[in-house]
Symmetry: D2
Subunit: 341 residues, 4 copies
């Protein structure tokens, strides 16, 4: 059926394609992030995905019955996303966090007074290789264009060995979530005790808000290396399987469930796979990734694919934003907050 | 030299790396786009690039002596970026536009009353191949998830043959910029005459503001196909080389020059290469691209590489934002406008 | 219907998915490229695409009635793909080549005795920016990790002004294909006259084999800049539209038509769009690209999308190989040659 | 100093850039993979990286004193790379394998008679979403374009509960490597007992060749879910830290060490990080990845970056191949085998 829209545009008469005409995004100085994201909704390609993602994420956060699982891969804490995440936790927008040992390591370093530094990747006096050789000599570790002096790892080691591991040692074998909670407690206490201006961070916020942190591959990090070294001379050990019970229980008990997946890797899959052993599945799914689906890897896999496994409900709202998470996560969070606050 | 910053943080003592500690981005509901981009400046990776790009672009726009060249590749008009560009032109923020025949084609279709449509890429009843077979039967052309009924091309053809080509035919062989200007004039007139609500678009804005449009590969588009068919039965023809004189003159006469490169392809290179035959070079360069440099293609090439060719001044400020232009262009423009307005 | 395959494997009983079990690629030292590509056929993801692409390409080449269009984008000649292409032309495997001014420029430089050099991108003593500043001082142009001393451009200019442009000048306005043919003739003659060991290259092979070269955006290159400068002081000029007639005729006259698209950009689209003004369409399509479809750009667009426009036949065999063309083009050509020779 | 090369080419006189001229790759039907890779060495961009990677990998394998660590991420087994890896293990080319629970799960499914299937991603009758809904109803799990009937997971569960877990239960808490070894033993035995034609796979080959498999995030997989469920009703458990001792010892004892990193994720980092607690570091490093470094993620991080952390020796030979591992791994292995055999 052909008809006219408000502008007098005669709608083409077709069976096959959706009839909504595309609009044109319009921007102005001083607009809010939420207004920008509304404008994205008039456009196509990635802009339309950002609009859809913000809409789903806002609905997920506004739904009081929705249990929100958040996964956080990679280098998000050392690249400046720490406070975005800790604020979400403090404001009750995260019910369980699944992350990497790297994020926990860098989060604790900042909590106890260390800092990451803007690097000189494009502004130094060496090639990448020579520059890295010099960094090695100067004991500075590089994460793309973020730099970390190695003495901060010594600070971190000292923190773990004095504040974190001893308390756990008495319990013998503990779960990884226990380690994360104890780390959060210690980060919070030291941060306050030492009067460090900086926010005590992700693990501290989770401890304070009683939000569990799951970190399946904790041994794949400096935190894990330290735990292993401590375990060599003590009765301390980590149970690789213990966390699956409370995580599954959380999924089981959820009236509705949503996930915000920041990056891929183990955090993404561990968040999704818990639905394989739960009758329900995610009702909402938003992911931010740089990886195209065509590689066949899980990191870039669509959430439709997850539907075939029963990880998402058949009628779940879901979308993927293809882009750099350091840009996209703050954008989505600001837009969703503007909507629900 | 080791010292303390304001927070009491003891700065590590190193030769090799920059001493600025990285901060943490902080977002809140209701913040402006400019405030968000300020927060990106505390973070690393892509977020830091967006901050730098907005800073350079704002400086370029605020510099009254700066001649601003803008390149616009690919599918930017059909995917909703048309008004962002036409507003930049109308507000005096573009001195020359280099674009594709595709953008001019889709811009004119909207100007004379056609519309693009949100497609059903993920919501139809067929696979991609079967869906495209059906679209073929139904005479709908697909650009990823944007759909265009083919009758809009008939409307466009009629517009060209009645309003655009006849006026040019008298002149015989004309430059491509002449064709673009005539197209802009015709778009503007028909749009007003027919009372079409929509903005008359990029070419119309350029015509009205007397900003030249260069389109080196115009024959690689439906506009070009139509021009060729018209040329078969008339004395009308296009000179492939004529535009290089005024473009080079504009570069030659610029006190300072800046470029905003949206996507790669011919528009990017043509904008850059004009400096090969000009004593000066770009003083500012910002590009938005999805292509990593490692492919070796010009589309993803860094602006540092352009420096080796003399396309950028040795001390030019420049940066690359890696991401989808439908997201990044509105974001950069909103942030830069907020800064300068 | 459930049954057993040769291994005694009981085939699962399903409606929805294809029943072929996936095998396992097996490699051994000394295997031929064709044998490797056969093994890819047992695997999934990209390997399966390479196998399919080689199969289609071999069928296209073996089909005596098939007119083969080849597009060649970007930096393929300066990065070492020149002889792969010229050998295909000499062996009758290309009926029309659509390429860039850049490829023609670098092809001619080699033909008359210039060379490209492996660069020091990762092995120099500077950062990228400083390195490019030094290259600028030393008059060396960089294409990612390929380096070109600027005196080779002077050699090229001299070649054009003595051997190529004067012959064309007498004809006044010529087509771009005329320029390409004249360039090929001159490359071939100078190469032989000077006794340069190197193959005379792509344009020379095309001249010798009477294969047309189309280069829609020729002005977007050093070749185009030189043509423009020559046109300033002579009656020489280029007609932007003239080539569309013989290209369309070739497509019109083809019994069956196939395209091998190496990279995206103008060469890809110009090769495809000729079918918009031809009753038929491509019967075979193989493309190599680094660009994911999700960007919405034409360079990464699937060939299924091209089907909606009528650029491919509804029943055309087609596939996309996602990868670096400097790796994938030699691989596909070697495998297809092994099959058909 | 300017001079002439063999062809009479006058070498340009410059300080800054390397003087080797680039050649032109040449391919012919029937050439071996090793010959193709030699030709890549004449080219630039990705082709040159493949040549360098094959050269380093061959040197690593030919060095009798070199301990070779191999990491294997993602979906390599379900996408057909299983026999490439098991043959490397059987031929003594792997001293330790670091992989994912997913690869072990899919490897075991094939070992006990299940199969993966070529899917209908591009050939079915539904959109991606609808197709996945149908797959859900039909109990078929999708990994991009590879399909797995869910009854194969039941087969796998039965295998684990009858052949694998009971033997481990007696030991109480075991290391993850113990689980992998027991799985390999059981795969090998069942495969032979049942007369399954197929190779018994990666874990079986590792068991037979006494090569350890490390799988830090084993709980992030169906294998891990099964282990957890079994642990609920038994004394069986997994120690998350125990494997770090033998892995570190292996690195400690190596005269020279090399790593072949296939994909990123936990396997890549776990392989690299063991050098953080070892005096030495890798002497050779080759990685295959689809991820550009600019994302800041570890998966795409260069091996130069790893040098800053002390994971690679300062003078280590290393390179990165950017591409699909299902294409690149067989190519590299075939070329390296041709060289050393």
């Amino acid at each position: 059926m052909s008809d006219h829209d408000d502008d007098g545009y005669e709608m083409p008469d077709r069976e096959e394609f959706q009839h909504d005409p595309l609009g044109h995004a319009e921007v102005r100085g001083g607009m809010t992030v939420g207004e920008l994201v509304e404008q994205y909704g008039h456009a196509g390609i990635g802009a339309a995905d950002v609009h859809e993602a913000a809409d789903i994420y806002a609905e997920m956060l506004a739904d009081d019955d929705c249990t929100v699982f958040m996964s956080l891969a990679g280098a998000m804490v050392p690249t400046g996303m720490r406070k975005v995440v800790s604020d979400l936790i403090r404001d009750g927008h995260v019910d369980a966090l699944v992350t990497t040992g790297a994020n926990l390591t860098h989060d604790a370093i900042e909590a106890v007074g260390g800092k990451h530094h803007h690097g000189s990747q494009n502004h130094g006096e060496k090639t990448e290789r020579e520059h890295d050789e010099t960094l090695r000599d100067e004991e500075v570790d590089r994460i793309y264009n973020v730099y970390l002096p190695q003495e901060h790892f010594a600070l971190f080691e000292s923190h773990l060995r004095s504040e974190v591991f001893p308390a756990l040692e008495e319990e013998g074998t503990v779960s990884i979530a226990d380690l994360c909670r104890e780390l959060g407690r210690a980060n919070s206490e030291v941060n306050e005790r030492e009067g460090i201006e900086e926010d005590a961070g992700v693990a501290a916020a989770a401890y304070e808000a009683d939000v569990p942190i799951y970190c399946p591959a904790v041994q794949d990090s400096v935190l894990g290396l330290q735990a292993w070294m401590y375990s060599q001379t003590s009765s301390f050990s980590l149970d690789a399987l213990a966390d699956m019970t409370p995580l599954t229980d959380l999924a089981y008990d959820a009236d509705t469930a949503g996930c915000l997946l920041v990056g891929g890797g183990v955090p993404k899959n561990f968040t999704l796979q818990t639905m394989l052993v739960t009758p329900g599945a995610y009702d909402y799914g938003v992911q931010i990734t740089m990886d195209p689906a065509a590689t066949g890897g899980l990191s870039g896999a669509t959430l439709d694919e997850a539907r075939s496994w029963g990880k998402l409900e058949k009628d779940a709202r879901n979308t993927t934003v293809l882009g750099d998470a350091t840009i996209m996560l703050p954008l989505l969070v600001a837009a969703a907050r503007e909507r629900i606050e």
